[in-house]
């Protein structure tokens, strides 16, 4: 009896100690996560809630707040400027995302087998860490239609009269796309490079033994195994393309004739030029909804082409 009691007491004690240890570890785990959580709540979640609230009111930054319900959304959805902004941003995304991903993949494939990868990684990554305002100013000079380096090169080497890159409504979006592709090449390339280096060499060797040529190797082995990385970059690239602002603000101010007027520039115009924070927040929420839907669609379709099996 006494032995049975001792065993029960021991079991209870072990259980209590385990529970205390779990609580203690949970506490310290939460404690170490706290700085990041505070940052996330303060700089992401709270602003999101505030923007949602602002989208339902009229407020000019100083005066009284007037609740207007969904009126800002109705006004923005019928605003021709928002329509122009969406069209321009979509065209920009259709050029920048495939162009940027393809170029980054080609560079990563080229660098994968090269010696001195680190130096190349640094060189390609430099635009990523350079201020977007500085790169915008530099590209303003490069794309100058009269004396810019690109048109001078086209004229002197190929006898081609280059377009008025930033002042021709047909060329302004491709011009900004070029700048964006150049800026983001390094970061996408580095991610692709990491993905390529994670592909087990046994698959490549097995495919070679089976007689696969280089194209077949790439198409049937490398690309499917790289698909998770490709999916990741695609999702992030689409989100960041829809949020383009720095290049349009520094280089074109939305012109000429609103040809480079993008969604975030529209939000900036409403907020900081017209001081109508309600409609600006409504536009921001519309952008959020569009990006959410696009991302969900991509996640829904990933099963068809993304291969997570190794």
């Amino acid at each position: 009896m006494r032995l049975q009691l001792d065993v029960s007491a021991m079991k209870a004690s072990v259980h209590r100690n385990r529970w205390r240890r779990t609580l203690s570890e949970a506490f310290w785990g939460g404690f170490f996560l706290l700085p990041q959580l505070i940052g996330l709540v303060t700089f992401s979640l709270i602003p999101l809630v505030i923007v949602l609230w602002l989208s339902l009111v009229h407020w000019d930054g100083l005066g009284e707040v007037q609740f207007v319900g969904l009126q800002n959304f109705i006004d923005q959805l019928s605003d021709p400027n928002l329509r122009i902004a969406f069209v321009n941003t979509t065209i920009y995304t259709l050029i920048t995302v495939p162009g940027g991903i393809l170029l980054a993949l080609l560079v990563a494939l080229g660098l994968n087998k090269v010696r001195g990868k680190t130096i190349y990684r640094i060189i390609y990554f430099m635009p990523v860490v350079t201020s977007s305002v500085a790169t915008g100013v530099i590209w303003l000079w490069l794309l100058n239609s009269d004396a810019g380096f690109i048109n001078v090169l086209l004229r002197s080497w190929f006898n081609i009269e280059g377009p008025a890159w930033l002042i021709d409504a047909h060329w302004v979006i491709p011009s900004i796309s070029i700048v964006s592709i150049w800026s983001s090449l390094g970061s996408n390339m580095v991610i692709f490079l990491a993905g390529l280096q994670n592909i087990p060499s046994t698959y490549i060797e097995a495919a070679r033994i089976d007689g696969a040529n280089r194209f077949q190797l790439f198409w049937k082995v490398t690309l499917p195994l790289l698909s998770p990385t490709l999916f990741f970059i695609t999702v992030l690239s689409i989100i960041s393309s829809f949020q383009v602002f720095d290049q349009t603000f520094v280089m074109t101010q939305g012109g000429p004739d609103k040809a480079s007027y993008t969604i975030v520039y529209h939000i900036y115009n409403l907020s900081f030029r017209q001081f109508t924070f309600g409609p600006a927040s409504a536009s921001a929420m519309i952008l959020f909804a569009v990006l959410l839907v696009l991302t969900l669609i991509q996640f829904a379709f990933q099963k068809r082409w993304v291969n997570y099996d190794l």
Binding site: L62, T252, K258, F275
Partner: protein
């Protein structure tokens, strides 16, 4: 090894002690940091000290700091200057400071911003202060066309113009001479022969000589409005406090059509069609253009280019019938924070800033504007550069600020400029575009109209 370590009492208590001490230290540092920040920022309201602010680049900041230091010495005052480098960031920062109760006691308000501050009752009405017998400045010290959106239709004043830049035509003598023009515009103006037709003839000659005749700026509608008014047209009714009526005014339509025709014929360059870094002043100093409309703000640039052979002068805009009419004036205002804790000291600084002595001090030597106050004209005439500098003063005396209805609607002016891009870039019809502009403008200015009564 583990036994040895665990026998040390320090090791057993280490993790908990370290974490709790770190937490205490972190909280203390955060508290000290917050305290230091609150001491460093905010308005300098203690002991009669005041703070004032404006947008200012490095060169302007230096000049204004010197002005502030001199004011402090002369008046035994404690005024701090807090410049904000970027114009684009200026109003958002001021609005944030006003919301947080730490805005400067005295600050600049651009003509397109002042309505917001009037609407939200964050700035003091200056009319009674100007009327006091001990005020250094009076309302009558400023020219009537300068008030714009800073004065309501009923006469309440909320801001005083700090200085101004009236639009005149700058011309490059070398470009004109190379085009075979022998009599300069300023001479023709003296003889009463300076008309739009004569201007057009000069443009034709300059263009035939493979240079640009004139650059039509695209960062403000004031340039277009100035041409329209010099053609005898009207833009807004009720002295600028009413509706946009340009589309219904035949002379305004004709003026815009004349501008569009010259742009289409490539005799005028539209600034938006120029590469962003090929600005009008660069083209002028490079002897690539004959005329441009501007205020006094390019003077230091052009002076600096004299050594490289640039020769220039100014003339009023030509009227169609030979009579020069008012042209636009670029303005900014200085305002008084309603919540200042030192209103007497703040108004004293404000009024001195825009007094005859204050503007003379600020604008002499390297000044790039024209005084807004009467009696300080010598700063423009000193040095005889440009030769006919008097035209800047004449333009100021008769000119007009951007119309109150338009300035009272933030962002509207730039939207109107964008609305005209199809006319000057793609050859769209002028009358149709003016109609579209009227349809866009008139509903948007309703709020400004009611606020500015």
């Amino acid at each position: 090894m583990n036994d040895r370590l665990s026998s040390l009492p320090l090791v057993k208590a280490n993790r908990r002690t370290f974490l709790s001490h770190s937490l205490a230290l972190g909280a203390s540092l955060a508290g000290i940091g917050t305290l230091l920040q609150s001491c460093g920022g905010g308005n300098a309201n203690s002991n009669g000290a005041i703070k004032w602010s404006t947008w200012a680049g490095a060169k302007t900041s230096k000049r204004l700091q010197e002005f502030t230091d001199r004011y402090n010495r002369d008046h035994n005052a404690n005024v701090k200057f807090a410049p904000i480098p970027s114009y684009d960031d200026y109003l958002p920062k001021i609005l944030t400071q006003l919301n947080g109760g730490i805005a400067p006691d005295v600050f600049y308000a651009a003509d397109e911003h002042i309505i917001k501050l009037i609407q939200n009752k964050t700035i003091e009405e200056l009319t009674p202060l100007l009327a006091k017998s001990d005020s250094v400045v009076k309302e009558s010290d400023y020219f009537p066309g300068m008030w714009g959106a800073a004065r309501t239709r009923s006469g309440k004043i909320y801001g005083i113009p700090v200085d101004c830049n009236p639009i005149v035509l700058w011309y490059n003598k070398k470009v004109l001479q190379e085009a075979g023009i022998t009599e300069m515009p300023a001479e023709l103006y003296k003889q009463g022969k300076w008309t739009r037709d004569v201007f057009q003839q000069m443009i034709d000659k300059i263009t035939a000589n493979k240079k640009r005749g004139y650059i039509l700026a695209s960062d403000s509608m004031l340039y277009h409005y100035s041409w329209a008014i010099n053609n005898g047209g009207r833009i807004y009714d009720k002295d600028g406090y009413g509706d946009f009526i340009a589309d219904q005014d035949a002379k305004t339509v004709e003026a815009f059509e004349w501008l569009a025709e010259n742009v289409r014929a490539k005799k005028f360059a539209y600034a938006s069609s120029l590469p962003s870094n090929q600005s009008e002043d660069l083209m002028f100093t490079a002897n690539q253009v004959g005329f441009l409309s501007a205020g006094r703000y390019y003077l230091s640039t052009f002076k600096g280019a004299r050594a490289k052979g640039l020769d220039y002068d100014i003339v009023p805009m030509p009227g169609t019938d030979g009579k020069s009419r008012p042209t636009g004036i670029f303005l900014a205002y200085i305002v008084l924070n309603k919540k200042t804790k030192n209103p007497t000291e703040a108004y004293k600084f404000l009024s001195n800033y825009v007094s005859k002595d204050g503007e003379t001090l600020r604008l002499k030597d390297a000044g790039d504007a024209v005084p807004s106050v009467k009696g300080a004209d010598q700063v423009v005439l000193d040095g005889n550069d440009p030769v006919h500098a008097q035209h800047l003063l004449d333009a100021r005396n008769t000119g007009f600020a951007t119309f109150a209805s338009e300035m009272g609607t933030p962002g509207l002016s730039l939207d109107i400029v964008s609305a005209f891009d199809p006319v000057f870039l793609k050859g769209a019809d002028v009358k149709t575009t003016l109609g579209k502009v009227a349809a866009m403008v008139n509903p948007r200015i309703k709020q400004a109209q009611s606020l500015l009564q």
